[in-house]
């Protein structure tokens, strides 16, 4: 049986919006939970990097909101996490649940690609399968042959073809060090914040013309999907290209995070936020 790690964390006000858990905070909790699971059941994240020259880069993330949780609902959040290897050691995936005192948990599935680090101080690396010494730390039922496949390309196509575009916007940004991890590469939950910032700027600019957009401020994100193609680094300049759609009875925001160098817009990540979806989304 796949091993699970369960623990609780005391709440602070930064975990929450007025509506629910902050998606960025949930993703940070999830990444920390994955590190705890690895450390408890397989190998510590620090040891992986320092001794096995193995790092991770996030590739695909799905967040499905549970029942709304507020700061005043309880003193602690319960966290449950499981981990697995997929695709013959080409992916490491974790499922994390973050739950308040009552109701359904908010769930995050995050799929990382292992990197073989080159041993340099910049922690640079290239995608590689996990080595046998790391693979051996996983139980047989924590190793899945099939790779994870992101639902995002299909979802983006479905929204573009089946939804009605309501508004578009562009929000420039610069990556600063407080948004980065140890190697001055952006810390992936920042993509969640940048996408949300793009959405909120779009709502600010266009809600007078399209009042329907205010639903994206009145209700929490129902589902969030992310797909990363290339990271941002310190002082990189970029923009969030956001498009709001009416789609399947709810609102969907497609955010393309692009680098804005001399060569024009260059895709780095894609995020899709869905609000009040017509039906309970399921893992895909």
């Amino acid at each position: 049986m796949p091993r699970c790690l369960a623990y609780d964390v005391p709440v602070d006000t930064g975990f929450f919006t007025p509506l629910h858990l902050q998606p960025t905070a949930v993703c940070r909790l999830a990444f920390n939970a994955a590190g705890r699971w690895l450390s408890r059941h397989a190998i510590s994240h620090r040891s992986l990097v320092a001794e096995h020259r193995t790092g991770f880069v996030l590739w695909s993330v799905q967040l499905v909101s549970g029942d709304p949780v507020g700061f005043f609902d309880g003193d602690r959040l319960d966290v449950r996490v499981t981990g697995r290897v997929r695709g013959g050691g080409t992916q490491v995936e974790c499922d994390v649940e973050v739950r308040g005192p009552v109701g359904r948990a908010t769930r995050v599935r995050a799929c990382c690609v292992p990197l073989r680090l080159d041993g340099g101080p910049a922690l640079s690396g290239t995608p590689a399968r996990l080595g046998p010494e790391v693979m051996s730390a996983f139980l047989a039922d924590e190793i899945e042959a099939l790779p994870h496949r992101s639902p995002l390309p299909g979802l983006r196509t479905a929204i573009a073809s089946g939804g009605a575009a309501l508004a578009r916007g562009r929000t420039p940004f610069v990556i600063h060090r407080h948004q980065c991890e140890v190697a001055d590469q952006w810390f992936w939950p920042e993509a969640v914040s940048l996408a949300a910032g793009g959405r909120e700027d779009l709502v600010r600019a266009e809600a007078g013309r399209v009042p329907r957009l205010l639903a994206a401020m009145r209700t929490p994100v129902g589902r969030l999907d992310l797909l990363f193609s290339r990271p941002f680094f310190l002082f990189d300049e970029g923009a969030v290209l956001s498009t709001a759609h009416e789609w399947e009875g709810g609102l969907a925001f497609v955010h393309e995070l692009v680098g804005t160098g001399a060569g024009g817009d260059e895709p780095r990540a894609l995020a899709i936020e869905q609000f009040d979806p017509a039906q309970e989304p399921a893992w895909r």
Partner: protein, 88 residues
């Protein structure tokens, strides 16, 4: 030539983003640069003194393969160093 540095490499050049280097080839420029900014040496070169495979080098916007690093470059040329990805 001008060498442009960005992102995760900036801390190894004391946050200098554009550095003028006088050298006959791209590789010679990188060696000279690493001499001027010592912390950069281990980032750019492996123990055998080869440019690390994770380090992407562009000459006037065109990517250079490892066997093209001996390309000559003049005063008006621009070399760009990019780290493709890092893992933590």
């Amino acid at each position: 030539m001008m060498v442009r540095v960005s992102g995760a490499l900036l801390r190894f050049t004391d946050y200098q983003r554009a550095i003028r280097v006088d050298a006959p080839t791209v590789e010679a420029a990188l060696v000279k640069l690493a001499g001027e900014y010592q912390p950069l040496r281990k980032v750019l070169f492996d123990r055998e003194g080869r440019v690390r495979a994770t380090q992407k080098v562009f000459l006037n916007g065109e990517p250079l393969e490892p066997d093209q690093l001996a390309s000559s470059a003049g005063e008006a040329d621009c070399v760009e160093l990019l780290l493709a990805i890092s893992g933590g």
